[in-house]
């Protein structure tokens, strides 16, 4: 089990309280983006393409604390941009720890080893290190040679100093499931607490518009990766969300489950889509036209999305919402998911390694669009 009992207990009691009080929409993880500035220029990222005066702006610690308290989510993910570039990130983290929030500080770890002495290990603080695969794959994915080695140095130093550390991988078309499984072995050997993974979202502003996985291909890829698991692998995610990625479960998106707050305000409708901003969390919940988003809406911007920020809240709420859900989570945590069909998928020729990415063709539309 990768997630500590105290964190699971906090989340479970939070979900149950919300259920008993009849709250229909509530957040589980606040996506707190203190800045958009980054020290990488990844091809699959659509988060950092702004004019310099916007990239220079950042949330103050007070704005971060106010957002956390207003939203009330028990967990806070700090993505960006690169949070370690924020000059007051230590103050922000310490303030959130004092408020007993479970923090996932998402970093590319280029600066992690250097900055670690400024942080204090805590059960509330996890460094979630962006690592997309083994050395060659990761470096190619983040468009920087040497990025993997720097990140791994940071991970090892953080583990040595007693910090909670997870890795966080995003997968696009061309991912070789065998390489990913090898990557899981590598990161578990580094001593991380668990692995976090997700298919990439088709950001409209990302430079690479040709490698976003559709849902059918996501299910096939993740079935190959996540079936026949090794005993050593630990996942810092809901087992039911992993089953969703493998195609064993159907969920609708819960966009309010991971609300995003940044220099513009509360982002509508979710962390991934930018359809405007609200001034308060209450306004976000009450005035967003939620029915216009998610797979069931037919919105093309949501069509390929199976990303954790929308679907993991659905899985967590399902898991803690009934005895059946709790039992499914226990079973999922300890199951190896034996699957002969998935083994056969692993024996198929590798789709594309980084070296052959040049051959990726433009996607064919499998279906005609229709007016619903």
């Amino acid at each position: 089990m990768a997630v500590p009992i105290s964190q699971m207990w906090t989340v479970a009691t939070y979900v149950l309280k919300k259920r008993f009080t009849g709250e229909k929409r509530y957040p589980l993880v606040l996506m707190l983006e203190p800045l958009f500035r980054c020290n990488l220029a990844c091809a699959g990222c659509g988060k950092v393409q702004y004019p310099p005066h916007i990239l220079k702006k950042q949330l103050t610690p007070e704005e971060c604390f106010a957002a956390v308290e207003e939203c009330g989510a028990p967990m806070v993910s700090i993505p960006g941009g690169e949070p370690l570039l924020h000059p007051q990130i230590v103050e922000i983290v310490n303030g959130l720890i004092a408020r007993k929030r479970y923090i996932y500080l998402c970093t590319n770890a280029l600066e992690l080893k250097r900055r670690l002495p400024e942080f204090t290990p805590s059960k509330y603080l996890t460094f979630s290190v962006h690592l997309d695969g083994q050395r060659e794959h990761h470096d190619f994915s983040v468009c920087r040679e040497g990025g993997y080695d720097l990140a791994v140095e940071g991970i090892k130093e953080a583990v040595k100093r007693g910090f909670r550390v997870t890795t966080n991988a995003t997968f696009f078309d061309g991912t070789d499931p065998n390489q990913v499984r090898g990557f899981f072995d590598d990161v578990m050997e580094m001593g991380v607490e668990g692995i976090v993974l997700s298919p990439g979202y088709s950001y409209e502003k990302a430079p690479d518009q040709h490698r976003f996985l559709g849902r059918a291909r996501v299910r096939r890829l993740f079935r190959a990766i996540l079936s026949n698991r090794k005993k050593t692998w630990k996942f810092n995610m809901s087992p039911l969300f992993l089953e969703f990625l493998m195609g064993d479960r159907k969920y609708e998106c819960t966009p309010w489950g991971s609300p995003a707050y940044n220099i513009f305000g509360w982002q509508r409708p979710c962390y991934l889509l930018q359809d405007g901003y609200a001034d308060s969390f209450k306004e976000l919940l009450e005035t967003t036209r939620w029915e216009e988003y998610g797979v069931a809406s037919g919105n093309p911007k949501c069509a390929n999305c199976m990303v954790s920020c929308g679907y993991e809240p659905s899985a967590v709420i399902d898991g803690f919402g009934s005895l059946k859900g709790i039992w499914a989570m226990i079973r999922g945590t300890f199951s190896k998911y034996p699957d002969q069909h998935a083994l056969n998928l692993l024996n198929e020729p590798a789709p594309h390694g980084p070296a052959s990415l040049v051959q990726i063709a433009r996607p064919d539309r499998e279906f005609e669009e229709t007016r619903a």
């Binding site: 702004y50 468009c143 040679e145 502003k205 518009q209 919105n299 499998e366 619903a372």
Partner: protein, 142 residues
């Protein structure tokens, strides 16, 4: 999302192999006509989506350099507004659609002109030339 947007059926969504990417439109330098209400609405929707600064001339004659990050479309132009930052201010400012006389997509489009294929090509060429530490770097904050 507007009613005119093409929608997918659930069956289509579940069977998608690759998600169709977005085709970027060249907006940098564009000066839209703002003769009708629809033209104003359309231009400001594009400005909201644009990842660069725009120059706004108000009906009063005042000129504003702005990054538009939010918009609200009401029934009439006076009820509709954009929200923006200027390069010199940290305050979020609001402006009614009805006050705007001219709009120019004057700033560099920060989401345009970067393609995965360019990175792959450059990487392969530089690798073949024996270069080490090949990387794409974020643009400098002027």
């Amino acid at each position: 999302m507007t009613a005119e947007v093409l929608k997918y059926t659930l069956e289509q969504v579940e069977n998608l192999e690759l998600a169709p990417g977005t085709e970027h439109h060249q907006l940098e330098g564009w000066i839209p006509d703002l003769a009708t209400d629809d033209e104003v609405r359309d231009a400001l929707e594009k400005a909201f989506d644009y990842r660069g600064d725009v120059s706004i001339t108000l009906k009063s004659g005042e000129k504003i350099e702005a990054y538009i990050f939010n918009r609200h479309t009401g029934v009439t132009l006076p009820e509709s507004w954009v929200q923006y930052f200027t390069p010199k201010s940290n305050d979020k400012l609001k402006l009614s659609y009805a006050e705007i006389a001219r709009l120019e997509f004057s700033g560099k489009d920060r989401a345009a002109g970067k393609h995965w294929e360019d990175w792959v090509k450059a990487y392969n060429e530089r690798k073949a030339a024996g270069e080490k530490g090949i990387a794409l770097h974020p643009e400098k904050l002027e």
